[in-house]
């Protein structure tokens, strides 16, 4: 048994099954990401973050806990991580992107639930998630029905805190959300036995803004006529942000951005001259899920923009950096997160405006609306998004799919035809 396998066994994981999961994920990564030629050398770091998510990163979490820190699992970009970091709590996104664990969830849950929720649950149920046994608390939110009821089930086996994300955007909803941010802070204060200090909060705000600025810079390279990085690799970097140490990630990203700057200066691009510029809008692609980007880019398209929670919704809007006054900082944090344009809102005109703005900014030839199967919010909002895009003369294609590979033949036909049509 390897050192890591001993660690997993110590955490109560099924080591054999975990080995199968690791092989499955590595094969997916090889087939769907590593086929690309001429990747920047600095991408190596981010590939490693993905590969070490269950090994090296888990060791770091154990060390953090041994030093007295707490660890929480999150499932949504609505969770204000600044507050956790400021209290010495390490947050990590636990959303599942693998088809491997889905059957384990389906033993208990209905089939017609989104693959993201099933994959996440399946990892916990199949004893292949090394984070679950380490969590001091999980933080859920109310962005969809599947998630809400999942939290109820998981709350029976672990300490669970649910943040209520409002469904409308009136001042009353903003007031509710601010209360929820305060309740989250209080819950973490109880967990750690510490009081949130203004100084440490402003430091955490600066750190996460630094990460957001790095991601914004990274994504802005895609605006060039000949981008130095593929859409797939941009996704891999963004996925890495969800698991890596925030500061180390920010530093590594700045290094990659410098590399890309240099590539641009030397006229090095991902090539594919004449490739159709495509925007992906809708559901996120979390680590383990490279399906849509791979299908699009291996069919000759270039994904130049992601209006998703693993794209612009993750890094757009900074928290104003103001020292002092704790309450003002918390209000600024609440305001920033409430600008996240999730399909759980009604109405959600701001998202439609963002899609149109980004389509223009990134000069896209077409948009692919990505709907994880059974995600009713994005599936239904796709109707208004498609008609808004059509009015601007931008064709769109809706792809509704899960994490399995069984429909890739049909999807490839639809994607190739869409690209031929543009």
């Amino acid at each position: 048994m390897t050192e890591y396998e001993e660690m997993w066994q110590g955490l109560g994981l099924d080591v054999e099954r975990h080995r199968a999961l690791a092989e499955h994920t590595a094969a997916q990564f090889r087939e769907q990401v590593l086929w690309q030629e001429n990747r920047p050398r600095a991408m190596g770091y981010f590939d490693e973050v993905i590969h070490r998510a269950h090994s090296g990163r888990v060791c770091e979490i154990i060390a953090h806990k041994e030093a007295g820190g707490k660890f929480i699992g999150t499932f949504c970009v609505y969770v204000p991580e600044e507050i956790a970091l400021a209290l010495g709590v390490l947050p990590l996104a636990l959303c599942g992107g693998t088809a491997f664990s889905v059957p384990y969830a389906e033993r208990v849950f209905p089939r017609d639930m989104c693959p993201l929720v099933k994959s996440t649950l399946g990892l916990a149920f199949s004893k292949t998630c090394p984070y679950a046994p380490l969590e001091d608390m999980s933080v859920g939110e109310t962005t969809c029905d599947a998630k809400k009821k999942t939290w109820d089930v998981l709350a029976e086996r672990a300490d669970f805190h649910v943040m209520e994300v409002p469904q409308k955007k009136s001042p009353r909803d903003a007031a509710l959300w601010y209360e929820e941010v305060l309740a989250f802070k209080e819950r973490l204060e109880d967990l750690t036995g510490k009081r949130l200090e203004a100084d440490s909060l402003s430091q955490a705000v600066r750190l996460l803004n630094r990460r957001r600025r790095g991601l914004a810079r990274l994504h802005s390279f895609r605006n060039l006529a000949a981008p130095p990085l593929s859409g797939l690799d941009t996704l891999v970097v963004t996925q890495a942000a969800f698991t890596d140490d925030a500061e180390r990630f920010a530093v590594s990203l700045e290094r990659l951005n410098e590399d890309l700057e240099e590539r641009v200066a030397r006229g090095v691009s991902v090539g594919r001259e004449g490739a159709k510029r495509i925007m992906i809008t809708g559901c996120p692609s979390v680590a383990g899920n490279w399906k849509l980007h791979h299908l699009l880019e291996s069919s000759g398209a270039l994904v130049v923009c992601d209006e998703t929670c693993t794209g612009t919704r993750y890094f757009e809007n900074l928290v104003p950096e103001a020292d002092g006054d704790l309450e003002a900082q918390l209000r600024a944090i609440a305001d920033r997160y409430l600008k996240t344009e999730c399909a759980c809102f009604s109405p959600n005109d701001e998202r439609i405006e963002s899609v149109l703005r980004l389509a223009e900014e990134y000069r896209v030839a077409g948009a692919v609306q990505y709907v994880l199967q059974y995600c009713h919010g994005y599936n239904l909002e796709a109707i208004r998004v498609a008609s808004a895009l059509k009015q601007k003369g931008i064709p769109s294609l809706k792809i509704e799919t899960d994490y399995s590979q069984e429909d890739t033949g049909q999807l490839r036909t639809r994607i190739e035809a869409f690209l031929e049509m543009l």
């Binding site: 799919t401 069984e406 049909q410 036909t413 639809r414 190739e416 031929e420 049509m421």
Partner: protein, 258 residues
Amino acid sequence: MNGLVLGIDLGSRTTKMVTLDGERVESFRIFDTDHDPMRKVRQAMEGLKFEAVTATGYGRHLLKVEFADGVVSEIKACARGAAFVRPACTTVVDIGGQDCKAIRVAPDGDFDDFEMNDRCAAGTGRFMEVMARALGWEIEQFWREALAADAAAPISSMCTVFAESEVVSLVTSGGDRRRIALGLHHAIVARLESLISRVEPEGEMLLVGGGAKNGCIVGLLGERLGIRVFVPENPQIVPAIGAALIAAESARGKEGDS
């Protein structure tokens, strides 16, 4: 150079090959796609002389490795083929072995909109095969018997798995087989109608693919959509004709280059 070009449509259930001589279909072949599709294509290609070949269908990328100069999606191939065999058509619907496509044909013979069912087999050739078998008929008898029915049994499910159970329960409760068959055809056509209406059909519609040989569907579809539905003589080879036309273009392109 004999001026012949070849289009191959390696579909999920059958493979279609068409050789085109200018504006004329010189020959065509249709055979079942099996577990080793390349072996059969190799056999069929023996002795064939042609200037260029374009592949389409599910196996298009497989063909590209060994034979084809180019590949094209079934959608584009189908639109081109439709504009060739029936220039007046503005919509083409392809009922294939495991999918259905509705395509709006642009005035230049290309396409400007399309809809395709995703992983669900409802309304496809496969669905018809399963239902015909559940009723104890061959595929052709299935629609002929439906046409002879005096009324349609209500069928609520369009899922291949559930509809089969529904058919079995209707049969075992003494339901009339012809009525059940007609009910199934109504269900298929309702499904097709919702797919087709998304591309806003108008004018004349061309129906192609193996499913177009089903006379009951052709009649019901025309009635429901209220537009003229035309079925060409060999509806299965239309996408292969389109692929051959695209092969001809690439052959002309090559001549232009040299």
